[in-house]
Symmetry: C2
Subunit: 148 residues, 2 copies
């Protein structure tokens, strides 16, 4: 697995979010540049729709309340161009890049995990969103600690 280069990660905290709070409502928008390999993480109360490109190759994540401990729900948009071959390729690329994306979120928001150590053990659920049932899925991908 490709490892995160912290020098290539930029993090932006938007209005209403600090490095510590809130948990519920905290949303991550992770985008990247194919050219430079730079990663851009925006942490806010909303997804950074201004950062989501026409490629829709961003990774979105948010903390969702669940019994005693919230879980981290991650969302990727698998479809493209109404074409199942494109969905197949995008599905493969997301699966290859998601470990790095999770590492970027875990590292980019590391002070938050220091303040909320329980959340390092929270489940990560990834929703691969597709109209094609072959690619539409909801999967357990470990915990943030696995990507620390």
């Amino acid at each position: 697995m490709e490892r995160l280069d912290p020098d290539k990660l930029s993090v932006e905290f938007r209005t209403g979010v600090t490095s510590e709070e809130p948990v519920i409502g905290r949303k991550y928008t992770l985008t990247h540049s194919d050219e430079t390999g730079e990663l851009y993480l925006t942490i806010g109360l909303d997804y950074a729709v201004d950062q989501i490109s026409w490629m829709r190759d961003e990774v979105l994540a948010e903390w969702v309340p669940h019994e005693e401990t919230p879980f981290l729900q991650v969302y990727v948009y698998v479809d493209g161009a109404n074409d199942s071959f494109v969905s197949e390729i995008r599905d493969k690329i997301f699966r290859r890049e998601l470990p790095l994306a999770l590492e970027a979120i875990r590292y980019g928001d590391r002070y938050f995990f220091e303040v909320h150590p329980k959340l390092d053990q929270a489940p990560i659920w990834i929703y691969f969103g597709s109209k094609d049932p072959d690619y539409n899925s909801f999967e357990y991908w470990g915990t943030p600690a696995d990507y620390a």
Copy 2:
């Protein structure tokens, strides 16, 4: 201007939003099918990122607090394919389709405007989001009453 055909508009209210509440935090995601001309309006506390296609031709809107009366902030993503010609075309298409989109939001959420008649006079500000300064702009587009 093309007029809204109410039979071609589907409206979905998501968790946390009713036809009356809330004002602040209420978000609209409007998408469409080029093939059928159907419009899909999702009203929720978040943008419906699952409804935003790789084309990024959706219209997003939300109520933003401002002094005595909130305003409706609308957002469209002008860029595509890192190409200023594509941005020029997309900008033109959005400008052509926005009156219909605003009519769809106003009609789709009509009970909300009945309960909050002041909001029919609220300003609508449209943010055309682009990295190209020629297309990046923030413009006043009247009030919801203009699209009723």
